[in-house]
């Protein structure tokens, strides 16, 4: 998809940031590394729309896959278990190639 900073299989990390206000990047994934498993498309930015600012630039949305053992160091299940979540581009940064 044009205009997407990341593509399928890009290693990404969710920014380690805790801004106030309406945020859609789940707290428990901040700082976690995963890979892009789908470029979903552009959507209005919910962090702006929550305050009635509906005319701003659209944001690319991705599905990102994490290994559970990378999210929870003491994860009790097998290492093959995964978690997928939708993350907007403003929350993603490039990660090293070590992510699954």
């Amino acid at each position: 998809m044009s205009g997407a900073r990341f593509s399928m299989d890009s290693p990404v990390r969710i920014r380690r940031a805790w801004p106030p206000g309406h945020v859609r990047a789940p707290w428990y994934l901040r700082g976690c590394a995963g890979v892009v498993c789908r470029v979903v498309g552009e959507f209005g930015n919910p962090e702006e729309m929550a305050y009635g600012r509906n005319d701003g630039p659209k944001l690319m949305l991705y599905r990102v896959r994490f290994r559970q053992v990378d999210v929870w160091p003491d994860y009790g299940g097998p290492p093959r278990d995964t978690l997928e979540v939708e993350i907007y581009e403003n929350w993603l940064e490039e990660a090293g190639a070590e992510a699954a």
Partner: protein, 215 residues
């Protein structure tokens, strides 16, 4: 009154009534919702009848719609491919309106079991499954199923072998998710109508599996 009515409260005192809806004060957001709704009707943006019909449409949805979609995917491989590619369009083929929000169908296979949650609130494919159950909205389910999905599934009676990947989908943004369960063994001769009875709401959230023996 006899003493055989099966509950214990001190007699001679007022019976403890269940509180009525009006007994607790409206929250800020309940007042806001009422005020905005009344304002929109006063301004003629929509009528009270429009509002009622919209609520009735939401209330009339149930997991039978999702089950019809799932069963068609079981019996028609070409339909299954279309469902995985574009759920909203494919649902329309079987007369199910999946709504304006894009739904992604995730397929259970011998290698992967999918389960759905929304940790931020309670996003749920309402157009296909109806209103979400209270447990889906509970803090316990939302916080635990991402943290320890296998023990949570076990509490629903669902044990996933360790050589099968458990994939949790945290539905946080613009998409909704529907789990396409695997068709149970021993259902070859069944009609679509009978198959649909095996496809419960919980199967399509991914916390249980279709159970042939429950038929």
């Amino acid at each position: 009154m006899s003493d055989s009515h099966g509950h214990s409260h001190p007699h001679g005192q007022p019976h403890p009534f269940q509180p009525d809806i009006e007994d607790s004060a409206l929250t800020h957001y309940q007042k806001l919702e009422l005020a905005v709704g009344e304002l929109l009707m006063e301004k003629g943006i929509f009528t009270g009848d429009d509002f009622r019909r919209a609520l009735e449409d939401i209330d009339s949805r149930n997991s039978g719609d999702g089950a019809r979609v799932v069963v068609r995917a079981w019996v028609d491989p070409a339909f299954k491919e279309r469902l995985l590619a574009d759920t909203n369009a494919a649902a329309g083929e079987v007369g199910v309106d999946a709504g304006a929000i894009p739904v992604t169908t995730v397929e259970n296979t011998p290698e992967t079991h999918n389960v759905i949650v929304c940790t931020l609130c309670s996003c749920y494919p309402r157009m296909l499954l109806g209103l979400p159950p209270d447990w889906y909205k509970s803090r316990a389910y939302r916080s635990r199923v991402v943290r320890e999905p296998r023990p949570v599934l076990a509490e629903f009676g669902t044990t996933i072998p360790d050589d099968v990947e458990v994939k949790v989908h945290d539905s946080t943004a613009e998409l909704r998710y529907l789990v396409l369960p695997m068709r149970p063994e021993g259902t070859d001769g069944m009609s679509e109508e009978d198959l649909a009875k095996l496809v419960t709401r919980d199967c399509m959230v991914g916390v249980t599996l279709p159970d042939k023996s429950a038929d």
